[in-house]
Symmetry: C4
Subunit: 233 residues, 4 copies
């Protein structure tokens, strides 16, 4: 029996494995297409492969519609929509100029989401997320406030010294993103004493800032494990 397709009845495991392999190959092929110095010959091969996979995915799509009970339930299910979205851009883009509509091909990446069907550990993640949901929303709110205040603060400290890099609060926001997440690319950083002292205080809070989602998740996952254990035992 197929473990993946709740609606289907007569599909086989090996068919699913082949489809999964094709999805991965088509994703790699998509990445290869973006290589700048690709020879026309390779481009043709990649195009042929693309056409081939889309044909297979289309056949797969209609097969799934046909075997689903009640018929049509698959079309409106989550994976039915994902599967459709994964092949539709190909048919829409053909005939029209490829370059302009190319961005829609990004949607093909949703095929990857198919992998999500395969896991049982997902449940614990989901439970942990539900436990921490309110705290997460609150954290998101506080994070946005912090990003805003940091941006405005550093703007006042650095705008005069670096009118190009800290040109507006929006430019400063980019600094806040790179700093509070501790990425620190190095394209934008304070140079004034005031800006540096401000950064120190912002980062002291920011350390705690990064700590919150981690702590939240750790605590929620422990609770989730206990709850599931109690329910089962």
């Amino acid at each position: 029996m197929n473990t993946r397709d709740k609606n289907g009845r007569v599909s086989f495991r090996w068919f699913d494995y082949i489809i999964q392999a094709l999805i991965i190959l088509s994703l790699i092929s998509f990445a290869l297409e973006t290589l700048p110095d690709l020879s026309p010959q390779y481009k043709d091969w990649l195009r042929v492969f693309e056409v081939g996979t889309v044909i297979i995915f289309t056949i797969e799509y209609f097969l799934r519609i046909w075997i689903s009970r009640p018929r049509g339930s698959y079309v409106v299910s989550f994976f039915g929509i994902v599967d459709l979205v994964a092949i539709l851009p190909f048919y829409i883009s053909s005939g029209i100029d490829l370059r302009s509509i190319r961005i829609f091909r990004l949607l093909r990446l949703f095929r990857l989401l198919k992998f999500a069907r395969y896991s049982s550990a997902m449940q614990r993640y989901h439970r942990a997320f539900m436990i921490a949901r309110e705290e997460l929303i609150l954290f998101g709110f506080t994070a946005l406030i912090m990003f805003y205040l940091s941006s405005v603060g550093i703007y006042y400290f650095e705008n005069e010294a670096q009118p190009e890099t800290f040109a507006s609060v929006f430019h400063s926001f980019w600094w806040a993103v790179a700093t509070l997440t501790t990425v620190g690319y190095g394209d934008i950083y304070p140079v004034t004493v005031g800006g540096k002292v401000f950064t120190f205080f912002i980062l002291m809070v920011g350390l705690g800032f990064v700590a919150v989602p981690t702590g939240l998740f750790a605590s929620a996952l422990s609770s989730a494990r206990e709850e599931i254990k109690e329910e089962k035992g």
Copy 2:
């Protein structure tokens, strides 16, 4: 009933939602004003919007005073002060040169704090903070000592090789901030062998350093959840 205003009796939900939307719009408008290449026309529009919101916030302020029981309790409450501080800079700044007093407009950002009224998950955060308070203070102390010792240490290693970037212990402190928080902008880093080895040892401790607030929060939040559960059940 209004969930937000404990003192008010005759206020309505939709009124609050409009005020909240206006706060967000005025925050965005404030950020837009800082854009360097703004046309005078746009500036005028933003100014008009600013005057409009301040008038509405002022009316809101007096309405809240009027409906609060006992009358005047709102004025001395936390949100009464925040609401006043959010509109006062406008009246103080008008008439005087705008550029010099501009920094006071930062206080308008406190309007954002209004959002804090809306959350129930806050309680768990608060409880977790109370549980970990002593450890947090101790951690803050240790962090300051570590920042100081790191600054002095790297100063001795790097001052001779880079007299400009590591000019004093204060300059080295900026390095300590960027390094121990793992931001690493790249504007200041050790070049001598001694400085690099020192950085290695500092960062080995620093890894644990970043770990402490996270672990603290995770552990405290778990305890907070259990305590609240026991109290309720």
Copy 3:
């Protein structure tokens, strides 16, 4: 008795300590050999030391075979293979051109793995890993999807503005690695407004991303401790 060698019967602690010291020294000696401005004299000394250690390790290897009961069990055991791999490259490389085969000497580093034998805390790590295994695999999957989607996304935003640095999805993948792990070298970063906004959203998710393995491990280790306690008590 030797705590390390389950198969051996007549080995002594001090012998093991000498071997461990030799392993560390040979690792340092290996690193020293890579120094660019090494005088020929030093190179000779390092070579002599290398030959000496390999001879001792070879004698040790045959001694271990000889004392293991049932004889030969050591040869097929994990550490038997590691010990062989640690000395084999020396015999294979001698006679053939050293420079080309030099990369095999990397295998000598496996000697370090010998240290792994010494710890009892390993068990708790192992248990925690087993508890979190499914979640870890799922996290790895999600991480790969996220890396892929981030790479493709930033490619569309930045390819036109920076055709050199964001030349293909593969180049963008390098950006995703440096950004989502918050390393942020600064050799590749977005410059367009779209790319920066995209990075903000990616990093907001990325903060949670970094949080997952930490929270997972913290929660799993707590469970592991409880389980071991219950089993023993």
Copy 4:
């Protein structure tokens, strides 16, 4: 009564507060001395302040010896040694050339450790540390192995392409430090495809690497809290 000095009997709180304030001031004064463009007048003032504080600390030291019961116990206690070390460099350095012996003045920073006396939350930290000690040592070992293997690996990938920055395994070690701790200064990073792919895999493990001490501490602190609760209740 003085809460700090277990050996003393007739000391007063206000005296301790003044000493603590003096310690902080002398630490700031020490940092100020390193400022490059300090006028000679300021330097004189700082020197006078330094002499003044050392005299007070010396008097304090002898007072503490005098009031300690049994007499002399303070001299051999931890804080007795710290207090002595904090003033001794001043007497040793005077008369000899100041510049060369300047590094010993670093020891004056140990005065800061006095702050450690003041906390009760320390106990929970200590307990958590004891619980996680074995895991921490094992983690330290694994970390060192990982640093070594990463350094050697990247050396083979990058040495040819960047013979200056990745000149030896030791130079590569500096890269490993900046990368695995996610600091990422940007002074050293891979440029070859192999090196970048290697970095990706190293960082995937490295994400877990950073996760371990955090999770360890979170789990240990939760256990410590429970243990202390059980002992008290």
